[in-house]
Amino acid sequence: MTIINVTLPMRIIKGLSDYSNIVNEVLKQEISFNILKFSTDSSGIKMLLDVPEDKIKDITKSLKKSNIIVNKKGRVSIDKELCVNCGACVSLCPTEALCLNSDFELVFSEELCIGCNLCLDSCPRYAIKED
């Protein structure tokens, strides 16, 4: 599975039906997928979806037709220059996305990140940024 961030831009939102339209577009592919996050803000309706990797192309194509923006961002990234490998973020991570390896270096496994953002304000170095 791979995580994608889809956004229906604010300027083209017409009503409540737009919410189900996004989900229906994905459901057209007849796949099972996870909705990790669902939110609305000034940029539009946003969803963080966990979808089968081999279906990404089809899903993207179909969503784009409905003016829905798809990108792979939406979770966090670690700035290695700023990180001091303290590990303060590790206990905040509900999955194993943030771990210390045997040399006590911080390892970020993006594929395990569910975009909960709990770690964001735990970093004493502001090394964790929202994508």
């Binding site: 303290c86 303060a88 590790v90 210390l100 270096e105 709990l118 304000d121 502001y126």
Partner: protein, 490 residues
């Protein structure tokens, strides 16, 4: 078997000194025994890299023309302490910038200074006959100033507690972000690499001990503040020349909603003068214990939940009442290891010699609590009787009670007196405006409460943070004992 400092330094000079890190020493003693290890190993290096809030720097800028005697001064918008001579100052790492507080503070200025970045200096003065200049606004780098001395009154804690949070809210502390209901655990200290844990009786660490500090050479200049040797919470007062240091080992830090601090890299070489020191430096994470402490209780004496070894802590999970709780270090072991390795390299290359302390650290000092001469008030001292209505009460009766008692809050309980909610005079007004008849439709069910033994300042903070004006006082069973309102706090 005994060795002297002179003998070890002679070996360093000749290039045949045997230096190992405190982690390597564990294996050596395990494999060869204490006696052989004491003969073979000359120096054990230690290291730690953690946030140390009691860190700061003395700076001297030299004189301007005409001269100025600073009354107030700011470095990159961080206020520095200037209660010393005309152009000296002390910059503390927890002092936050006037602009962008919590994001940038004294620790970040020190990091930027050491990294060679330009620092803006703004200062003013009431002016004197000998110091007539009223204002300065300039920029400097570390090379432009006379002295830049890292001076940290309390660093290198022998060990530190492991913090957890029993409350139902996220706590933002100097021990990081603690999730509610024991959702995670945070600890600090380098365990088996910790300098003072490897010389727990302070045989070799004392005034004048040459150390690794922030990537350069520094010195122990005394026992640290809050030095508490009897329960193995010893601390060190250290200083060093910032001009020799490296910003890789001095990093500004921010703890969300707490403030700024600084990560400090500290490493101490321990000469193996006797078998006792060989044994002590072989201490493992398994043998080093610390306490799991509940930061959910906002009091000085916090409940101690259990003892835990650094081995368990470093595994990433600790057992708490049968539940596995994820834990995070606040200090970087990666950097601690690096520091011990660098110090080892310096000694091996003959760049760093060991010296006996001019005086050793106290093993007797007590860590006293603050003496308070003004009375500290508790909720029990100021609470008053609560006006109570039952859940099924008529809104009109509630309104009458508010008017009769000239009060703003009615507490709602069940027949047994257990808290069910709270209603304010504003809620009643709103009910009338919205044509609501039932009490159950207007009460606030999720109530912020206090207890009998809570200090007034904590209760006041709860009201301020939640933007409310009263707290029901409840017992452990959620039974209502009274109420405290903002009026009592005035």
């Amino acid at each position: 078997m005994t060795k002297t400092y002179a003998e070890i330094n002679e070996k360093i000079k000749n290039g045949d000194v045997v230096v190992v890190t405190a982690e390597e020493m564990i294996k050596i003693v395990e494999e060869k025994g204490i006696k052989v290890a004491a003969e073979e190993v000359d120096v054990v290096t230690t290291g730690t890299f953690g946030p140390m809030c009691s860190s700061g720097a003395f700076l001297n800028f030299g004189h301007s023309d005409p001269q100025i005697k600073f009354e107030h001064l700011w470095l990159n918008d961080v206020h520095a302490y200037h209660g010393n001579a005309a152009v000296d100052c002390y910059l503390g790492c927890t002092r936050m910038a006037d602009i962008r507080p919590f994001e940038y503070g004294g620790g970040h200025v020190i990091e930027d200074l050491v990294a060679g970045k330009p620092i803006r200096l703004r200062g003013n003065s009431y002016t004197t006959d000998c110091y007539p200049l009223a204002e300065v606004d300039t920029e400097f780098t570390i090379n432009d100033i006379n002295q830049a001395i890292l001076c940290n009154p309390r660093n290198g804690y022998q060990r530190y507690v492991c913090a957890v949070n029993s409350s139902d809210k996220i706590l933002y502390t100097y021990m990081g972000k603690l999730l509610p209901k024991f959702g995670n655990a945070h600890y600090a200290g380098a365990g088996a690499l910790s300098p003072l844990s490897n010389d727990p009786d302070y045989e070799t660490i004392g005034i004048g001990t040459r150390i690794f500090l922030g990537g350069g050479v520094g010195y122990v200049i005394g026992e640290g503040t809050q030095h508490s040797p009897k329960n193995r919470f010893g601390t060190l007062f250290v200083k060093g020349d910032l001009k020799q240091m490296n910003s890789e080992f001095l990093r500004g830090a921010t703890f969300e909603k707490y403030g700024t601090s600084m990560f400090v890299g500290l490493g101490i070489p321990i000469p193996i003068l006797n078998e006792g020191l060989a044994k002590k430096t072989a201490i493992s994470d398994e043998e080093l214990l610390t306490d799991v402490v509940d930061y959910g209780i906002p009091r000085r004496d916090k409940p101690n939940l259990r003892q835990v070894s650094y081995k368990e802590l470093k595994s990433g999970q600790i057992d708490l009442n049968g539940k596995q709780v994820k834990c995070s270090p606040m200090s970087s072991f990666n950097k601690a290891k690096k520091i011990a390795e660098i110090l080892k390299r310096w000694i091996n290359k003959g760049e760093f010699y060991l010296n006996p302390p001019a005086e050793t650290l106290s093993t007797e000092r007590d860590f006293k609590p603050m003496k308070i001469t003004s009375e500290i008030k508790f909720v029990r001292d100021l609470m008053k009787k609560a006006e109570i209505c039952y859940y099924d009460c008529d809104i009109k009766i509630v309104a009458e009670k508010i008017i009769k008692g000239n009060i703003n809050h009615i507490i709602i309980t069940d027949k047994e007196g257990f808290l069910k909610g709270i209603v304010t005079s504003f809620d009643i007004t709103k009910a009338i405006a919205n044509d609501k008849q039932e009490l159950k439709d207007i009460i606030t069910k999720k109530v912020i409460t206090t207890n009998f033994n809570e200090p007034i300042s904590n209760a006041a903070r709860k009201m301020r943070i939640n933007n409310i004006s009263a707290l029901p006082v409840i017992d452990e069973q959620n039974k209502v004992l009274g109420i405290i309102t903002s009026e009592e706090l005035m």
